[in-house]
Amino acid sequence: MTTQDSVHLDVRGLGKSFGATRALDDVSVEVHSGSVHAFVGENGAGKSTLGKIMAGVLPPDQGDLVLRGTPVSFRSPREALERGIAIVAQEVALVPQLTVAENVFLGAEPRRAGFVDRRSLLDRFERLTVESGFDLKAGARVGQLSLAKQQQVEILRSLARQADLIVLDEPSASLSPKEVERLHEIVRTLTASGRTVVLVSHLLAEVLELAHTITVLRDGKVVSTNPTGEETEVSLVAAMLGRPISRAYPAKRFPPADAPLGLSIRGLSAPGVHDATLDVRAGEIVGLAGLVGAGRSELARAIYGASPTTAGDVSAGAIRLAGTPVASLRAGVAMIPESRKDDGLLLRRPIRENVSLASLATLGRFGFVRRHKEKAEVVGALERVNGSSLLEAPASALSGGNQQKLLFARALLAEPAVLIADEPTRGVDVGAKRDLYELLVSLAASGVAVLLISNEIEEILGLAHRVVVMRAGRLVAELSGAALTEEAILGAAFGTAPSTAA
């Protein structure tokens, strides 16, 4: 217990920006030796970024890390590891073709005369598993193990390097309840042997059960750091909220009560989506909220036909969608994809070609592009979104906000009756955000059915007429009117509130 009083890692005034987004702002926290220190917050609050900086994955822009009284700066995870700090990331970073033991000692194999000393490797592996109580077979191929076991391999790997501070980034995100229990035992074993665990998690129950200290982050800032005994789920959620509405949203214009159905989803299932049923009326903005990994983008892609579905129907107006982007566009459904770089833009092609891509069939005659018509319509669409007036510059030359506007212009040109907007304002500056909000509202006012996905609850609250919350692939709550509050959305997303039938 004496060790728990000393400061293992002292984080002082840490700051980090990604483009225009301030991910961490003057974060100061003391992590004590031998404790489990949890960081919680909404999506994008900065908790994962903080974990990555501690472990040398990302460099900070400002601030210092002080390790047991010595200032340190890591240029790589390797340097952090040399000082005893390891990270087990959300995405497992193992070599699937190698065995468990080979992965554990990868890059630090015991050698003899330039060859890997297999006997000594297995001996050390044996000692390590006995000491840590892990049930892993040295010769098993990592690629054939469950995710939970792979995670254990990663933890073992950090132990093999004598790491005494282990950052676990959303460790139970993809584990079964039984595996989660096992993970919790492992965490307790780690701290019992004097090691320190930094736990980044959005599962409040887990955090309350495991952590000695809990730090709540909001918008990259520390809201509070308290002993777990002083916190409850309610107090944590309250600390994660409480942000004033800082951006003005256009006034909501609700659709008439007799507005026809724009988008109708019945029993839709796809990888990551279970039995989703949802209607969006013409002129309505429906917000789709939930935690990262809850299946919102998967649902959007399944609706649009970007990824295959396993069951269910989607109709736009009277047309049943055939499940391909071509058919969806033809039926009047457009999508702004979550990742504009991966799924949206042709970065090296001119802006003009990027905007007209989805409408070439109507802009062409006998297979030839009617260039005057194309230019006129692209200019018109870019004006409507208040976007860049450049036409021939490559899309890569635009800022994030203007790239996003370009994708809106593409969607507008296709004259959709249904618009699915997946994270339309991610990485977009405040001014452009406001333009995009106006655009979404005016589109809805003109009778377009809008399905809006956003990690920012504030944005959902500011724009959506009705909100559907997803958790673990299912639609778990539908909120509108007075029931539409930040607390209600978060409660449903975290699973702390009783779910209402969607």
């Binding site: 920006s17 990604f18 483009g19 225009a20 822009d61 649009y304 970007a306 982007p325 071509v326 566009l329 033809r330 999508m335 994809p337 991966d342 799924d343 949206g344 833009l345 042709l346 970065l347 090296r348 092609r349 070609e353 007209s356 891509l357 989805a358 070439l360 069939a361 802009l363 062409g364 297979g367 030839f368 592009v369 260039r371 510059a393 490559p394 890569s396 030359a397 800022s399 593409r410 296709a414």
Partner: protein, 327 residues
């Protein structure tokens, strides 16, 4: 408040440099091409004679035709290593059919073989999801083997059918019909790529297949079409060359694949897809041909020619990678 965000400033500068490198990439092959023309014109008096230039055009006709079609494949994000094999099979097929049936049927048979193999290439890459490099390499073995079976491993000749020679060797205004076909195909391919919706879809498919698909492009259909066109181009080149010399053999296109890819890539069409043009390919192929022609005219050791081509190829790809580093 007046503080400038260092991150924002950095990305502005990055965008500017990106635009600059984009502009340099745009001029690309024209610069070394012009330098070579001037240098050869000054050092070798025979270079700029019409006869020498017409000869280069005639000799390069087949290569440039294949390269025009191959450019479509590369822009769409694929690669076709079977063009040499198709060239050999189509040339032999055309020659044999021309001498046993008739010249028109021979030409049609040769082209048909190319389109058929191209379609199979496309289906192997899209339906069977085989990487284009491997899929077309495998197909090149299959096609070469078939060509060897068809020709029984021999040189097939049709010296008794001089009418077949007219297909490629008829002169019009001092330029052979092969040269005119090459010019015609380069123009058609240019228009196809720059003016039609198909051309746009080709760029989109190679630039970002996922974005193209979500933007309503039938990505697989486009890929199959480019392979079919590449097969047709390789077949036409094979028919032209067998017509020119009234003989063909299965291994006739042995080195063609790499000569053509060198021309395309030196021209500045990216092997990563999404970028390139027919003009670049034509200049790239001519540049490679001029380097070879220059070595001949200046009486230099042909072994250095190979070394020079290798260096040029590395430089071309390196320039492409350099112009992409800001993405």
């Amino acid at each position: 408040m007046s503080q400038i965000d260092p991150v924002a400033r950095d990305s502005d500068r990055g965008r500017l440099t990106a635009r600059l490198s984009h502009a340099i990439g745009r001029a690309g092959i024209l610069i070394p091409f012009a330098i070579t023309v001037v240098a050869l014109g000054l050092t070798s008096p025979s270079f700029l004679r019409f006869q020498n230039l017409a000869n280069i055009l005639d000799q390069q006709a087949g290569i440039i035709i294949v390269a025009c079609a191959g450019t479509l494949v590369l822009i769409a994000g694929g690669i076709d290593l079977s063009i040499g094999a198709i060239y050999g099979l189509a040339g032999a097929t055309a020659l044999i059919t021309a001498s046993s049936v008739s010249t028109p049927i021979g030409i049609i048979a040769g082209l048909g073989v190319g389109v058929a193999v191209g379609l199979v290439n496309g289906l192997v890459v899209t339906r069977l999801r085989v990487n284009a490099l491997i899929g077309t390499l495998a197909m090149s073995f299959v096609v070469s083997g078939i060509a060897a079976i068809v020709t029984k491993g021999n040189l097939v000749v049709a010296f008794d059918h001089p009418e077949f020679k007219q297909f490629a060797a008829t002169k019009l205004g001092g330029v052979t019909s092969a040269g005119w076909m090459m010019i015609g195909i380069a123009i058609v391919a240019t228009i196809l790529l720059s003016r039609t919706t198909f051309g746009r879809y080709v760029y989109a498919t190679g630039g970002n297949a996922q974005a193209a698909r979500l933007g309503g492009v039938r990505v697989n259909g486009i890929r199959v079409a480019t392979f079919a066109l590449s097969g047709a181009g390789a077949a036409l080149a094979g028919v032209i060359d067998s017509s020119r010399v009234l003989s063909a053999q299965a291994s006739g296109g042995q080195f063609l694949t790499f000569t053509v890819l060198t021309g395309i890539i030196v021209g500045g069409t990216s092997i990563l897809g999404g970028e390139g043009s027919i003009q670049r390919t034509v200049f790239g192929c001519l540049f490679v041909a001029l380097v070879a022609n220059g070595f001949n005219l200046l009486g230099l050791d042909p072994f250095y020619q190979q070394v020079t081509l290798g260096v040029i190829l590395v430089l071309a790809v390196s320039v492409d990678a350099w112009s992409r580093r800001f993405e």
